[in-house]
């Protein structure tokens, strides 16, 4: 690991799609998936990125690992610029940032043993081979709570939770600075989720890896994260450390999200103040004027239609983009 203080520094990143003429010449609308966001993640820190489908969180994740080029802005991983990097530079950068996804079954090659899968990045990078490779794979398997002899098995011989462990082992093989976890426990059964969350916490304690944790489950976010960022239609609307965020949410969208997530306790859940949003997420190809949230916001006034609120700091350290919060 390099010793740069922040493992991730994002500045004013925007990602747009389409807009050029299609096959039949007609030019489609521009989809503005990400619209100028800034984010730092410190070494050993876990930041949660929260938002609903279509808010741009997956596009942002893809941009961070260099799978998607932004139209503007800068993304630095431990000091190295991702945007505009050539193939060789990207190769070097990617060893410092890895990604795991929701469905482990789709992330593993069914025809490779898990030993081969976990060892592949090590061979590609020339880190280890032969017996050293075997030992490294065995260590990785043990780190994620599997046994060395599991190296010879195929993905179908494992349960969903075990497969996610394999995926995590592969992601950690090159000792990355940053691991992007895109809904890592959403596809798992409830009893297995806690195992994987405990594992992620333990691995962070041991290796100091940072996590960008993309999730819609606020219970999990509250449990595992140091800081929370809420995204709506391509922009951050609220950003705060965990305690501030959950004790005193400010943006009306954040409040709506919190009231929408059902608590696993009938007394709490049924007594809860409801704040149910009307309507649906507008299309990112036709983002509302002013504050993008004004079409669904119970607090919206005239200024919200005209002026886009900037993310501004509040007394308790939170940063919120709202004229009325």
């Amino acid at each position: 690991m390099s010793d740069h203080k922040n493992v991730l520094e994002i500045r004013d990143v925007a990602v747009h799609f389409g807009g050029r003429g299609g096959l039949l010449g007609k030019s489609g609308p521009v989809v503005k998936a990400v619209n100028g966001v800034d984010l730092d993640i410190a070494r050993g820190e876990t930041v949660a990125l929260v938002g609903e489908s279509g808010c741009g969180k997956s596009t942002l994740s893809n941009t961070i690992v260099g799978l998607q080029a932004p139209i503007s802005g800068s993304v630095r991983i431990s000091g190295d610029e991702v945007v505009g990097a050539n193939r060789r530079q990207l190769n070097d950068i990617r060893r410092k940032v890895q990604m795991i996804f929701q469905d482990p079954a789709l992330s593993l090659d069914p025809r490779s043993t898990v030993g081969a899968t976990i060892g592949e990045p090590l061979i590609v990078r020339g880190v280890a081979r032969g017996r050293a490779l075997k030992e490294r794979v065995a260590t990785l398997l043990q780190q994620v709570g599997l046994r060395p002899e599991h190296a010879d098995r195929y993905p179908h011989q494992f349960s969903g939770g075990q497969r996610q462990r394999v995926v995590i082992a592969r992601a950690l093989a090159l000792e990355p600075d940053l691991l992007i976890c895109d809904e890592p426990v959403s596809a798992l059964d409830v009893s297995v989720r806690a195992q994987i969350l405990n594992l992620l916490v333990a691995l962070q304690k041991r290796t100091g890896v940072s996590y960008l944790f993309v999730s819609h489950d606020l219970g999990v976010v509250r449990h595992i994260c140091d800081r929370v960022v809420v995204m709506y239609l391509g922009r951050f609307v609220e950003m705060a450390d965990r305690d501030t965020f959950f004790a005193n949410p400010k943006h009306p969208y954040t409040k709506a999200l919190m009231s929408a997530v059902p608590e696993a306790d009938p007394e709490v859940q049924r007594a809860k103040q409801r704040f149910i949003l009307s309507g649906e997420l507008p299309s990112p190809s036709n983002i509302p004027s002013g504050c993008a949230f004004h079409t669904r916001c119970p607090l919206a006034t005239e200024i919200c239609l005209k002026e886009r609120p900037e993310l501004t700091p509040r007394a308790d350290g939170a940063r919120v983009a709202c004229h009325h919060a």
Binding site: E52, D189, S191, R222, I224, A264, L277
Partner: protein, 330 residues
């Protein structure tokens, strides 16, 4: 539970696949206007139980015992022809993925109207008018325009409202909802759950809700059956189940969900191991291998559902030792 006056009662239902009892001796009842949740992890048999109620079991799954009484009719004994008359009219189902359940080539209006015409044989115009009213009831703005749209023109939440319209247009007394909000975003999930609560209250429809989400259960259910490996582990009124679980599986499941007052990044309670596959089912309690309370008796003898009072029943030999679970979990 309103045991005296159930609308639907599933009685000792047993379903085999390849000789294994994947649904084993399941009984529960639902009263009108109530929500009964079947909760469990993948492979617990909750979906097969719901398909059996609709006569939709896959060919490999065979009902070997039990009845499914909708008032005085045994649904399990209906022929496919008789079932065609019952489905939609007496009992309906909505699924997890609304866009996969709708015909992409037909307008949503004609899909809703079709359901009504099949059972009532009315004119197209009359059925469309019914469909339009139904869209108003499920909270879809601008219903006249929506009727002429195709599923791809609607969002996931909107499609689920269309599915609910199709399921309810003939006024069935029972609605089976199989993970109805799992594929939806949380703010949309909240809208759909509220809609379901309203429909239950207004129409007195009984709902059998299949879910794995304890939050959804806490929000909407009146009674809960926790299923594990094809059997009911515990069944209780919702408040009792959350306040005082009487089965180690339920207790551990509830403890493994992160809570408001947990210390951040503290170790969560876990259930070691994984759910057994049907060919691993033993003769005793199927939770034995993962249970911190397990003894030899659990391995060799299947526990019956013991009555704990107040409609609360649990299939565990060691209900008196449950305090130990709370220590493990804490």
């Amino acid at each position: 539970m309103d045991a005296a006056n159930p609308l639907l009662s599933v009685d000792r239902l047993t379903i085999d696949i390849g000789g294994a009892n994947v649904v084993d001796d399941i009984s529960f009842t639902v009263a009108p206007g109530k929500v009964m949740a079947l909760v469990g992890e993948s492979g617990c048999g909750k979906s097969l139980t719901s398909y059996a109620m609709l006569g939709l079991l896959p060919p490999a799954a065979i009902r070997t015992a039990g009845r499914i009484m909708l008032e005085n009719t045994d649904l399990a004994a209906l022929s496919e022809r008789q079932f065609r008359k019952a489905r939609g009219k007496d009992i309906s189902i909505i699924f997890q993925e609304p866009s996969a359940s709708l015909d992409p080539l037909t307008t949503v209006g004609s899909q809703i109207a079709e359901a009504y015409r099949v059972h009532h044989g009315v004119s197209k115009a009359e059925a469309y008018e019914k469909a339009r009213q139904m869209l108003v009831d499920v909270g879809i703005p601008d219903p006249t325009r929506r009727l002429d749209q195709y599923p791809f023109e609607l969002s996931g939440g909107m499609c689920q409202r269309i599915m609910i319209s199709i399921a309810l247009i003939c006024g069935p007394r029972v609605l089976v909802a199989d993970e109805p909000t799992t594929a939806l975003d949380v703010t949309i999930q909240a809208q759909i759950l509220d809609l379901m609560k309203k429909l239950v209250a207004d129409r007195g429809t009984a709902i059998v809700l299949i879910t794995h989400d304890m939050g959804v259960v806490a929000d909407i259910a009146d009674d809960v059956a926790v299923m594990y490996a094809g059997r009911i582990a515990e069944i209780a009124p919702v408040h009792d189940l959350f306040r005082q679980p009487k089965h180690p599986y339920t207790a551990l499941l509830l403890a493994s969900v992160p809570k408001l007052d947990d210390a951040p990044k503290a170790d969560l309670a876990t259930i070691e191991g994984t759910v057994p596959t049907p060919n691993e089912f033993g003769v005793g309690c199927r939770f034995t291998e993962r249970c911190p309370l397990a003894t030899d008796k659990c391995r060799t003898e299947q526990p019956p559902l013991f009555d704990c009072g107040g409609g609360h029943r649990s299939a565990c030999w060691h209900i008196d030792r449950l305090a130990e679970i709370h220590e493990v979990a804490a």
